[in-house]
Every structure is written in C-alpha cells, then in structure tokens.
Amino acid sequence: MALNRTDVEKIAHLARLQIDESSVPEYATNLSNILDLISQMQSIDTSDVEPLAHPLDAVQRLRADNITENNQREHLQTVAPSVESGLFLVPKVIE
C-alpha cells in the first residue's frame, strides 16, 4: 500500500497536523512501509471472529449522580494559553 503526497496531506489535514512540505516524501515512505507491515493481517481469515475491543470481559460501572466537583476555574486555567473573563480564547471562529 503506497501512499502518495495527496494522501499524506489529506491525512495530515484530518489530524490537524502541519507537515513541512519537504518532509512529506519521507512521511509517505514511512507510512507506506508501516501499512505494508500492517497488511500482513489481511492474509488471515477472520470472518467468524468477534472483534475484541477490550481485553477484560468487564462491563461499565455506573457513577452515582452526585456533584463531586466544585469550581476550580482559577486553578485549572493557570495552565491555559489564553484566557479572558474566565473564557478560553481562540482565534475567531467563523460559522
């Protein structure tokens, strides 16, 4: 499975990753090699096999609907890149 420049750029966009123009060929080669490695799976017939999402046969625990978190805004926003009036700021979003 060989990925070309367009594929790499499309994936990078979907993942919101800026990739240097110059390193695209290297990504294309490496990703293609990885996909070749991965393609080994295709030789196995798994048509009757139930996918395994989780190693343990466990079920979801439920949490009681009680408020356990109080306002920690100042504390939690100390690590924020840009904050004003309690809001996280990002470049203007145009809808």
Partner: protein
C-alpha cells in the same frame, strides 16, 4: 546507603540507620552529579522530595510508618503530578504544570513515598528506545552508546545508574519490560485494569497499564501493594481483591508448569540470547518446575495488530492537545485552523505525528473494517492463543526482546525495524495479560531479560516465580561498571 533495594532501604529506615531526609538528599546529590551522563530525569523535584521526606520522618517518629514510608522513588513523566511539570516527553506539554495528581501518584504519596523526580520517556510513550523524547534520549548505564529501551527508558536508566532505587513505568506494548530487560531490572506489566490509568497520560487506552520497575521482584511486589486496586475514576479499572503481593514470594515452585512458546524461541532470536533463556529455564527445572513446549501461533500478527490499534486510539487520545486549554500553542495563529495545525505540527515530534497519521488513516472512512476491525479480530485470536496455553501451563516464558540494547541511532531511520523490537512484548498488551521481565544473563556486556507471562490477575504468582529465581541466581544483582 545507596545501591540498596527498596526492601533493604525500608529496613534501614526502620532500624534508624538513616533518615528519609538523609537518604533523599543522598539520591538528589547523586542525580545532580551523575545524571548528565544518562539524561534519565526530565524534572528533579528536589523541594517536593525534601518536604515529603521530612513528613515521612515525622510519620515514622509518630509510629505510623508503612513499608513505603520515606522511600524515594522516581515517576515516569507520564503520571500527572500536581504542581510539577508533567511533559510526557513532549514539547506539547513542556509548559504543563499539572493541576492534579494521577491516582498512582496519589497512592504513592498516601503511602509516604518520596518523589525524586519525573523520568525521561519516549514522547507520549511512543517508542522503544527513548529516542523520541523532546528532552533528548536517555542512555543505558551499562553502555551509554546504547539505548536504555523505551518508552520507560528514563525510569530504567535512573534505577540502573543508582539514581533511584525504583520507579514507576507504563507499558503499552512492552514499555516496562523492554527497558527493564535492557537495563538489568525487574519490571512488571500488570493485568490490564489492575493499576488505575487515571492521570496517566493516555497513549492507547485499551493497552496502557502502569506498573513497577525495580531491582528485585520483592521491590516490585512492595510497589504493587501501593499501586494496585480499584479506582472509581477509571471505568476500566478492575473491581477485584488486591492480595498482599509480598506474602507468597517465597512459595516453592515445585510442580510449576512452564510453557515455552516455540514462536518466541525461533528465527528472530539472537542465538546467544536463546542459550541464556534455556539456561534460565533449566534453573527453574532445578527449582521443581516442569517445562513443555507450547505454541502461540499468532505471535507474529501482534505487530501489525498493535500498530493499528495503538495508533488508532492514540490519534483520538491526542486530539485534546489543541492549544486551547493547556499546553503548547503556536505563536501568532492566523486563524483557528492555523492554530490547530501549527500547534500540533510544532508541538508533536516526528514519531508521534507518524502514529497519529497511521491511526487517522486506519479509522478513516472506508478503511475501518480493513484495518481497525481486522486488528480487533486478530486481537481476539491472540488472546485465544494465550487463554488456551494458560489453561495448560501456569506461566509462559521466553525472551523479553529479540536482542540486547541496541545503539543510539541504530534503528531511528526505519520505524518498521524499530517496531519489530516489540515482537515478544506486544501480544501481552493485546491480550491484557500480566508479564514480567527479569535479568537472566549478559550478552556482550549487555543485560538480557527473561519474560514471564501469567494468567489474568496472576501478578502474585509471577512475582513469586521471579523472586524464587532471584533467590537462586544473582544476575539481578549485577551493576554497570563503576557503580
């Protein structure tokens, strides 16, 4: 007082040979003096350590000490530590001072342990050599031209270099066991769900598991007593009784059934290592165990399955690093998309970007069935292999790695070659089983690890099996030259 095991240090503290403050200071000084050679710490938490050590000494004086009170340890920089930078080895979190503690950190703090610092690691735990760290690679104390393994390479290097008596690690595809093997340590990857993942920065949620890295199985057992248990904050944490992991360390191994998977002792393995593994197994026979050959036919498929599942989960887990609420944000973003792309493009290193892209591709429209679903099906086949074999034997043994520690830069140019390093460790994570690596010999001056795999929640048995070997051999006591 340095170069001792946790158990020995606990004894020393108990008998008043030294205080926790003295012990902590000695380690801090040694880190300051020596770590430039190994780059094993990202952050040394001197002030925190001394505060905790002082408190530990007071606790001991008041007669309230536990077996962990006052013992200094290091934490992999993947565990969120309140008030301390928690970087996950990434530029993305270089400025991230965690506002909260991971459950594992909380548990060690509550037990009175002292945090020496946060250890180096592959960026977001993605790597097998520690070379993908934003903070530069950590080096193997046995030979600093070689890697300490990864992703918990900093923890391994720190212990091997005598900069910490023990450390926490995490294991998604071998990240505790492989560096333990490379650095002559005892590392335990517990059953998935045995140790809380809350506050442990996620790489691949269905595979990640925290565990101890130590000099002996006994020390690992002491740490498991602190780390294991149900956490209401982690939906995937197991609701199951936690034994005292030190209680049955000495139980005899008479009648222990060992399975040797032929797939682990075949072509991929360096013959000198194979000899060491067979010698270790002989030792177990001497201890009363019986050995049979078993087969895990889907072992080879664990590499492709893992390299779909882990990147797919990672691509989603790492979407939260967007420059909005914490962490790195690029300079002067032109608009929202520019902010996302440059923040993530500049904040993540090459290997992380590569895995995010593989995962994104595998999950994208039209490919889900061929990649992700297929990998989950293979995952079941791999699990079924183990379940079948473990119904016949008590433990499975084999090498932890195909070769001893390789040289820095040796495998960085070809990611696929690097991924093949994990061939013996990945399958365990896919199945969710517990596994250990313990020292079993030297190859060209570099340590070799024996991997021991047990059934679900059989950590107590694994520690017992490892401990008995360490009672009978002294491979684990070997130290790098000059220590």
């Amino acid at each position: 007082m340095l170069n001792k095991t946790l158990a020995e240090l606990a004894k020393g503290l108990d008998q008043g040979e030294f205080s926790s403050v003295e012990l902590t200071q000695a380690y801090l000084e040694r880190i300051k003096r020596e770590d430039s050679k190994y780059n094993s710490f990202i952050t040394v938490t001197e002030e925190l350590a001394l505060t905790q050590a002082t408190a530990a000494d007071e606790t001991r004086a008041a007669g309230n000490a536990t077996s962990m009170t006052g013992l200094p340890i290091a934490h992999k920089d993947i565990f969120c530590t309140q008030g301390v930078r928690t970087s996950a080895g990434s530029k993305m979190l270089d400025n991230f001072v965690s506002p909260y503690d991971a459950t594992v950190i909380r548990q060690f703090n509550a037990a009175g342990a002292v945090t020496l610092g946060k250890t180096n690691m592959d960026e977001f735990a993605m790597g097998s050599s520690n070379e993908s760290s934003f903070y530069g690679p950590s080096r193997n104390p046995w030979n600093t031209d070689h890697v300490p393994g990864g992703s918990s390479g900093g923890s391994a290097a720190a212990i091997a270099a005598g900069l910490a008596p023990a450390a926490t690690g995490t294991d998604t595809g071998g990240s505790i066991r492989q560096p333990a093997a490379f650095c002559n340590l005892t590392g335990l990857k517990p059953t998935y769900g045995r140790v809380s993942r809350y506050g442990m920065i996620a790489y691949a949620s269905s595979l990640d598991q925290g565990g101890p890295m130590a000099q002996t199985a006994e020390d690992a057992a002491m740490m498991m007593n602190v780390m294991a248990g149900l956490d209401p904050l982690d939906s995937t944490s197991a609701d199951r009784q936690v034994p005292d992991y030190t209680a049955k360390l000495d139980a005899p191994l008479t009648g222990l059934k060992i399975g040797l998977p032929k797939e682990f002792l075949s072509a991929n393995l360096n013959p000198e290592m194979a000899t060491l593994i067979h010698a270790a197994v002989k030792e177990y026979e001497a201890l009363g165990a019986t050995v049979t050959e078993v087969s895990l036919p889907n072992t080879a498929l664990s590499v492709p399955a893992y390299y779909i599942i882990a990147p797919a989960e990672a691509s989603s887990n790492l979407s939260r690093f967007d420059g909005v609420r914490y962490g790195y944000r690029c300079e002067d973003p032109k608009n929202l998309e520019d902010m996302y792309k440059r923040t993530r493009g500049e904040g993540f290193g090459t290997e992380v970007k590569r895995r995010i892209m593989v995962g994104t591709y595998a999950l994208s429209e039209g490919f889900y069935d061929a990649y992700y679903k297929k990998a989950q099906q293979i995952r079941r086949l791999i699990q079924e292999d183990f379940v079948r074999v473990l119904s016949e034997v008590d433990v499975i043994m084999g090498p932890t790695t195909p070769t001893p520690a390789f040289k820095l830069g040796e495998k960085t140019s070809d990611p696929v070659e690097m991924y093949m390093e994990d061939i013996f460790t990945l399958s365990l994570n896919l199945a969710g089983l517990p596994g250990m690596s313990i020292p079993c010999g030297m190859n060209n001056g570099l340590p070799v690890g024996l991997q021991i795999i047990g059934n679900y929640f059989a950590e107590e048995k694994l520690l017992n099996v490892a401990h008995k070997f360490q009672q009978a051999t002294d491979w684990h006591t070997l130290k790098p030259a000059g220590l």
